[in-house]
Symmetry: C2
């Protein structure tokens, strides 16, 4: 199944394009204006300055992709017209099928897809967003839903609204995206088809998925097993309460927790327990440069309390507090009184960039740890933003993974952004850093 | 023990005031310049434009509070001078006592406190920050550490660095603070003294504490039991790994998890498992207007997937998904096709403000629920910011608690800020809202 036309289409027909500002068919057309878009609407001559066509068949060019945003009842017939126009790919945005109990219409649609042999995404979906080439079929305007910057995270979501909120949040938090695919009722293109496609996609480094029920469960797990990229999945409807809700949402029958999680683990899928975990895991998997050889973590900090809660998190998440070896211990004579070369390695509130530099270099050399968590409270007066150089230098050596914890407001955020730009995993709270590291180690 | 002079002092001596920009004794003096501050330094004539004194005894005014930021060795003698000047309260910022193993000096200090009868906060602490009257003894400049806006949260922290990072984060996230107290080694004023003081403080609505080891454990628990305000505590060093780290930090012996948590529960203290939980719990306890009568939660949403993960969180956190009663069920005829008056009550992606208004009003009337979680994805085109009116109106009735989940970037944040201004608990992720609600219900 070829899915690249969904992302590489040059000429796109928007069937159900609308002149009414804010309407689905209007927003989609607006987003596609930088591409070659052809509005289809029998009641309009021009839409957003473009010539409108009464039917897709009247467009005098080859069309690579049709986006259908008309009333649900009209969709099967429109698919027929698309076939007559030799269109091979369509995104059906329209809702009103099995997700609201209209099984009959869903069946009719299924029949139309089979007959026309068109590759269909949806129905009841948002379609796609490609952060690299900016192909964007989302009917939510940018003043409402910010689009994330280009990066390595791809996200597939059964739920359109959840997916769109995720995109908006990702933009807000600065995560870089490759492709976003909202596949809705998955009548034709399924989660496993998308998974296989993303496994080969050069922009995609990490695959995230929100799943309610998997129709093609076995195929999905098979695709996941084959996939060499990390897959992070959040399963909605994992409880009894959530499962009955899921049933009336996408019409998908959600299964038991144990069955899902067991199958996910077997297929090497990383289980996120909530939306935030999806981001946390995606963040570390898309940035970390070096796989740690073991689970012994060395903490370096300028805040005693932060060192302690980091140590607590390490034990709680099943990692181990490294026992400092000779490289760290021998630093004692180079450090001022009160700095104890232990773990956590507490550089104290008057820590300087230089003190951090020495400690990080020693920890990199030390044979008794596998990963280094550098906790920086940039509030203290004797360090400044040039501390980033030390961390970037150490990280580039790719000998051991370095994860940073940076807590605070504007000043701290500027340090965080500088490190994130260099793809160094950064977290706001120690617990999140350790959660991420432990997920990475278990994968 | 009177602690109000720490917050209400009018004339303050800064012993160890410095002319060197960025130095502890310089920043403290600068922060206090809007108060009547008297620098003490035998090697300077003027500091930051103020006349400097060689000794505290030479200041020709009554001094309400001394802040001591000199070398640790000099502190006992300085306390003696403070007594001769009839100073009753002192904050010892200086470090270098038992926290670095200098038990002898700590003992000497203890002796000096006993002899002089001065009420002492510290040593090895940051002192205090009062967001309402802006008394601020923190030696971290505002371009590094933003101060939070005035509000109802007070925070006591054994660890200065952790406490300061918490302040900076609180400022960043928009939480309102009453008083912040960093008490360090607690040689004289202890955590339980501070707790008793905050229990009576009119600005304090919620008390948060970061604790490593409690010296006066029994007194602390007794004070907590008496306190009518919610107390949220994060215990650092709760694991074996963290506990050994805590020992070398504030010299406090951390105890076993079961013992601490058991005692906390008995004393009615809300246990936070990490820093973020402190904020989440403080947020709901300082805003919620109505205590729910039970644990049955009704979800209203415009995102099916968000409804499902909210339902999952409800079951995972031991709350119950309410069974909609007649008030909600009777809405069916007023809603468009596809909207099912169930729980989650999914108003669909084309939900309007009006649809939310009807649903919230019905849920408020419905006898089958105790609390309402309103999930809003403001990305969808047919709702806008005036939806806040509906939520504020319902919340003001104080019949049932309303908790909002608002996910997204700028546009969403403007809605969130509008609701937070009205003290409606708002969260970014469904799981956080449910975690907060469940903590509130258990309290």
């Amino acid at each position: 199944m070829r899915l690249d036309p969904f992302f590489k289409a040059r000429r796109i027909a928007v069937i159900g394009a609308s002149r009414e500002r804010g309407k689905v068919g209007s927003v989609i057309l607006k987003q596609l204006k930088n591409k070659k878009a052809y509005p289809v609407n029998p009641h309009a001559k021009r839409i957003l300055g473009l010539k409108a066509y009464a039917s897709v068949k009247e467009i005098p060019h080859k069309i690579d992709l049709a986006i259908i945003a008309t009333r649900a009842q009209t969709v099967p017939k429109i698919l027929q017209e698309c076939q007559e126009k030799n269109i091979t790919h369509a995104i059906i945005v329209s809702a009103g099928f099995k997700e609201i109990g209209n099984e009959l219409l869903q069946k009719e649609l299924s029949e139309a897809i089979r007959k026309t042999n068109i590759t269909v995404l949806g129905p009841n979906c948002l379609g796609v967003f490609d952060a690299h080439n900016r192909l964007d079929t989302l009917f939510l305007p940018e003043d409402r839903l910010k689009r994330p910057k280009p990066g390595g995270i791809s996200f597939l979501s059964q739920s359109g609204a959840l997916g769109s909120a995720v995109l908006d949040l990702a933009a807000y938090k600065g995560y870089g995206f490759a492709k976003f695919i909202s596949y809705g009722n998955a009548e034709n293109v399924t989660a496993s088809d998308i998974l296989e496609f993303l496994a080969k996609d050069k922009d995609t480094k990490v695959i995230c998925a929100y799943i309610e029920g998997i129709k093609d469960g076995k195929a999905f797990l098979k695709s996941a097993k084959k996939c060499k990229k990390p897959i992070i999945a959040l399963k909605g409807g994992i409880t009894k309460a959530g499962s009955s809700a899921a049933q009336s949402h996408t019409g998908a029958l959600a299964g038991k927790k144990e069955i899902y999680y067991g199958a996910f683990k077997q297929a090497g899928i990383i289980i996120a327990h909530n939306l935030e975990e999806v981001f946390i895991f995606a963040s570390i998997f898309s940035t970390i440069k070096t796989k740690p050889r073991g689970k012994r973590v060395q903490i370096i900090t300028n805040g005693g309390g932060y060192g302690i809660v980091t140590a607590d998190a390490i034990e709680n998440r099943g990692l181990a507090l490294a026992k400092p070896g000779s490289a760290i211990k021998s630093l004692k004579k180079e450090m001022p009184e009160g700095v104890v070369a232990k773990n956590p390695f507490d550089l104290l509130g008057d820590a300087t960039n230089e003190r951090y530099d020495k400690a990080i270099k020693a920890a990199m050399k030390d044979k008794n740890n596998d990963a280094i968590v550098v906790v920086i409270l940039p509030q203290t007066p004797r360090i400044d933003l040039s501390i980033k150089k030390t961390i970037i230098r150490a990280s580039r050596k790719k000998e051991k993974p370095i994860v940073a914890v940076i807590t605070g407001s504007e000043y701290s955020m500027s340090l965080r952004r500088a490190l994130e730009k260099e793809k160094i995993p950064c977290f706001e709270y120690p617990e999140k850093a350790i959660l991420a590291l432990s997920a990475y180690l278990r994968s």
